[in-house]
Symmetry: C2
Subunit: 340 residues, 2 copies
């Protein structure tokens, strides 16, 4: 059943049917009702490709799924996508996932999506400090928004959480509890969020005149595994750290196990603050002990990013889109005063 068929059975022209369905004013209300009713009855759906070709709008936004074996397909990203999807589904807009194998060689994938007009806009996640994709997409004139920020590449839309302040605050909190040997288990510093977190951490230490022990700062892919390994390693140092900041809940689980394995008790022998992106399947409140966290829902960020993308498509100037979200510090059981 196509538009023309529907028009024929109604004794109307395709023009009128199209207008009726798309809510244009120049059609009699009764006629519109007849059309809508018939469309429903015959399960009519406009052919997406045809409509896209005619309007020039796609009704889809792009995201790239990194599938490289050695790269983390991480839960953070899905949770973010879920948020994006939540908002986009309201407007019946699809998400086009373009799978990419390459580690560094990802720009072709973006280029393909962009120049083939497969999407109206692109959402970029987890940008490195300097992002090649930003350059490419700007060059192609493809609208895009960043979840996170770059450094020294202004002029594009972004939404980010205040990672620097969050880790500054968390570090300060630990310092206030008397800790001075504080470790940092971070994601790769080439990513902006990780570099911001480190900056916050270092700034807080500096304010108290503490020089960070470089052996207490680790960066790695944010997996359970790496959390375990880094923490294990930190605990062999002497004196060992009495507190630790962790960049993701996934890593925190690993740290957790390492602390246990070393026969130490979390919240007593070792304090821990982890960043919580709020996963439905990992609840800081129900851990044992409960986990002190810097918290910001990555899903909520996704929803907002989707909203902003829609605004861009409606004409909002990307340069006006800069949102920096504050981060909560939620104090729970995994932190306590420095052991004497």
């Amino acid at each position: 059943m196509k538009l023309k068929d529907l028009a024929d059975t109604l004794g109307l022209s395709p023009t009128t049917v199209s207008r009726a369905l798309n809510g244009y004013p120049e059609v009699n209300e009764e006629t519109r009702w007849r059309v809508v009713e018939a469309a429903r009855r015959y399960h009519y759906r406009p052919n997406a490709s045809a409509r896209r070709l005619a309007t020039g709008r796609v009704g889809a936004i792009g995201a790239v799924l990194h599938t490289h074996r050695n790269q983390l397909i991480d839960p953070h990203y899905v949770e973010f996508l879920a948020g994006v999807g939540e908002r986009l589904s309201e407007d019946e807009i699809d998400i086009v996932l373009s799978p990419t194998k390459a580690g560094g060689e990802e720009t072709p994938s973006y280029r393909r999506i962009a120049t083939g007009k497969r999407v109206d806009a692109i959402i970029l996640s987890s940008p490195p400090v300097e992002d090649e994709r930003v350059r490419v997409l700007t060059g192609l004139g493809m609208p895009f928004i960043l979840h996170g920020r770059t450094v020294n590449q202004p002029g594009h839309a972004w939404l980010d959480i205040d990672n620097e302040r969050a880790f500054h605050q968390a570090t300060k909190y630990l310092l206030d509890l008397g800790h001075t040997r504080i470790g940092l288990i971070n994601g790769f510093k080439s990513y902006t969020y990780a570099s911001h977190r480190e900056r916050g951490y270092r700034a807080a230490l500096a304010e108290r005149g503490i020089k960070p022990d470089e052996r207490l700062a680790g960066e790695a892919l944010m997996t359970d595994d790496n959390g375990y390994r880094l923490m294990e390693q930190f605990l062999t140092l002497s004196p060992r750290p009495t507190a630790i900041l962790v960049s993701s809940m996934m890593m925190a689980l690993g740290c957790f196990r390492a602390v246990r394995a070393a026969g130490l008790e979390l919240g007593k022998d070792v304090s821990m603050v982890a960043h919580d992106d709020v996963f439905p399947f990992l609840n800081a409140d129900r851990m044992y002990p409960t986990m002190t966290t810097t918290r910001s829902s990555i899903r909520a960020a996704g929803t907002r990013v989707a909203e902003l993308v829609l605004e861009m498509l409606r004409g909002r100037d990307p340069e006006t889109i800069h949102e920096l979200w504050p981060v909560d510090l939620v104090i729970r059981g995994s932190t306590g005063p420095v052991p004497s």
Copy 2:
């Protein structure tokens, strides 16, 4: 830069340029070379919508992303998608994620994707025992493949792992170690995989004449959290179970903590076998103790499903596509003889 422009600058007709780029034989090799070269130089990319409209093929396959707040956006699904993506990217085929809010009300989303011709085929995951989507898509004539199976709905393509046999084997292994009070922490039994797992478990017990204690079988969303709660609950029973089967690594982490919290030791006081879908961020081999698992890479399944979808689109009869994969039992440190 569109096809016509490219043709004009080359002094050729659109027809010839199109054929040259699409590898049709009726074009001189030298001409083809000129065209390809020019296309590269001018960064020409055919407009996806136009091509789709003309050919009737979309070059995209659909998947639905469940974003409902109370539903698990689970890591299993992403890992599976990553596998799908790995294969599809080779053919430059996109994945269209259609976000769906609804819990039970998901069929409209599939219907929209299908009748709007937004994709060439659909990949369905985690089917319940009886799947409405199967009926709908069959009715619409939209090609689809299931990752998993349904019961009593034959005639469609599927790929599944042998869940029943896997849990049968795992249970048998625990029985051989002397355990008789064996618990099961499962996903919801309305899903085929969960029901198959339970069947395997019960069958193995029955073979030894053991009547399962119904208080030792729990089903829930497969989160860390629920793993903790169910295990905690099981451990209050008396006599408590000496061994446990767990349906996902995520739940296993929770069980793990519950065992610890109860002051018990895994692999000694309590044995545990978990099903491992092989996540890059959760390595059974690096847990403490290492985890005995039934193992099957969900990513590999995704890759194969993608391959099968491509075959369907090339004309292979869906009814001939039924693959049942065996599952490995990997014995590690979390299982041991029943404590005396």
